[in-house]
Symmetry: C4
Subunit: 215 residues, 4 copies
Amino acid sequence: MKTRSPESLADLEQTKLLLCELLGNFYRLGWCTGTGGGISVKVPGGYLMAPSGVAKEYVRPQELFELDEEFKVTNSSRLDGLRLSECAPLFASIYRKCGAGSVIHTHSVAIVLATRHETKSETLCFERLEMIKGIRGASYLDRHQVPIIPNTPRECDLEASLTRALDRLAANAHAVFVRDHGAYIWGRDVMEAKRHAEVYEWLCQFKNAAAGLRS
Amino acid sequence: MKTRSPESLADLEQTKLLLCELLGNFYRLGWCTGTGGGISVKVPGGYLMAPSGVAKEYVRPQELFELDEEFKVTNSSRLDGLRLSECAPLFASIYRKCGAGSVIHTHSVAIVLATRHETKSETLCFERLEMIKGIRGASYLDRHQVPIIPNTPRECDLEASLTRALDRLAANAHAVFVRDHGAYIWGRDVMEAKRHAEVYEWLCQFKNAAAGLRS
Amino acid sequence: MKTRSPESLADLEQTKLLLCELLGNFYRLGWCTGTGGGISVKVPGGYLMAPSGVAKEYVRPQELFELDEEFKVTNSSRLDGLRLSECAPLFASIYRKCGAGSVIHTHSVAIVLATRHETKSETLCFERLEMIKGIRGASYLDRHQVPIIPNTPRECDLEASLTRALDRLAANAHAVFVRDHGAYIWGRDVMEAKRHAEVYEWLCQFKNAAAGLRS
Amino acid sequence: MKTRSPESLADLEQTKLLLCELLGNFYRLGWCTGTGGGISVKVPGGYLMAPSGVAKEYVRPQELFELDEEFKVTNSSRLDGLRLSECAPLFASIYRKCGAGSVIHTHSVAIVLATRHETKSETLCFERLEMIKGIRGASYLDRHQVPIIPNTPRECDLEASLTRALDRLAANAHAVFVRDHGAYIWGRDVMEAKRHAEVYEWLCQFKNAAAGLRS
């Protein structure tokens, strides 16, 4: 991040406060318990990103990483003992390839469970649900398809398959699911990324519950 | 809405605060995540209605639409960037045909799941549950029947089938369910609409869970 | 209730605040949505009881009914528009027959679902669960048996079968379940009644979930 | 605990506040309803431990037991009417044998349910889940195995089998599950114990839900 005017600094502080508030909300929703999950957002001159391996509901604004446009940390001297997530390069790929303004990483039980419905499929499909319209550009008549990639022992090793998934991304999809792991979900800005995360959470909760109905 | 006395303006502000508080509660209950769902209430000279497509738990009193008795927005100049929901005409039909004082639109997973139990039925039936008495005029001995209408790609296209459902509404029913989508639920005033929404939520949660019991 | 000293009035106000706080907690737990459920407590000279048919999470201390030792309301003049619950005589029976100091009425989905496991049994049995020890006097080795009585269209008509159930109450049981309806749960004081309500809730949640396990 | 400097007293008060805050969180997560569950932490010169048999979400800092290095209570004179948990010797064993800095006892429904999947196995096994990495030293490729011991009527009688379980503890396991009862979970410090408790909770919720999927 570059030097900023007082005004953009105020905006930056507001954005940091919002990210911390959302992390608290995500914790209560069960998306980032066990220090999992994360959030990042594009800001003028770079990005903000939550630290890794800490209780997300306790993260304070001054503990967020600031990164420049090449995803290099610029405030590490002030973040003693905090660690950038291994999934930073994955976030970078999504920003680069999808024109995202914000990316959320969720470990929700509902989403991981949904990746287990058909263990050989490379896609999870949602259809015939009004909630699909909560994804930008998607309509109720769509078969909304989200790619599933296999998990790897280290998060940084997901990059190749994530990149391929982004290349074959179906129209309107704003997420990549990682089997046995969670999901990367994005939007134009942080509130859209949040909306998309809530929609995919709803869709997976529904899919899991509907699978249990006698039919 | 027409010009108001200072007193009714105070009442109006109280009502707006209550609506915003309830939207926060509905968000936490999972009824309006992903910016879905909504609430409206009849006030002297017109109606109040939550904006569409925004995070409902963040809506502030001054962001609620004010509409006159013909459901025309009267405060749009002050609501820059906000959009009235496509379901406004549906709300208008319910006010007109049911003598409602408040209407809630919920996207609850439990309610949508309940519309999937019998995919060809045009009615969802609840019986033998004390909670049914939470619906005004309903008794424990009732077979309480709620109409289900099919979803349409655009919310405004629900109007014809919603109107027909309201015409064939069973005694005491205070809701129309939309398959794959959610429900419109109403009451004499906002607290009764809330009570009815909680009762239908409970009944659907129960029906879904009971369907999973071995019998 | 009789005339009180300033000190016991202060105690009474504290008790009222606690009841309102607990009602908020019970609402969030799903025990008294749709205005259902309730709570009452024995105080010097009589009882306190939550009003019926109102949103329980909004009840304020001054809206609680005060009753004398014969369960006659003594503060009705100050409770305009509020209604005593039809289940007041049931609460009175429990106080009289069980030496209770506080009674809770819950409409929890988990408890109602548990009354449906064996629809002909007059008893629900819990065993082999540490949580049973949360009931006063109960041990891990107990088969802890709670009576189930059938529901009636009007709550006041439950009195005869409730009384019979209290007469045949198994050792250590502190609840009567009402099929399709909910439960009456009690304790020596309000915190013990709350503890017992949480234990029965846990036991029913577990029983329902375990019934879904493949075995 | 020994006499302390003003500085370490301030630290101690902070730690007590944190424990009370976490107990409130655990209550809302359903880990210590019905007065069950507990938490303890190693501090200079001894340990802190939550009292037994009280509503955990209401515990105040001055109600925490202070114990010396031999697990003898040193502040009992100030804790009138409070009782040390019968599981104190179990906590002591875990501190001694595992080098733990904090131990949590949870009664979560999800964990107890998970102990019922295979009622004869002495181990619960988790595999192929990213969340496993939330346990210190564990990797995604691990078959992460947690010992299950049978419950006993009195908590203090668990000590022998708990000790044996700790002796045969698989690499990286930071928990012992007690069938029909709950779990003891630990970490180097209180935040790691909390992280581990959240991870085991997640893993059990997932295992229970996945068991219900048609496959």
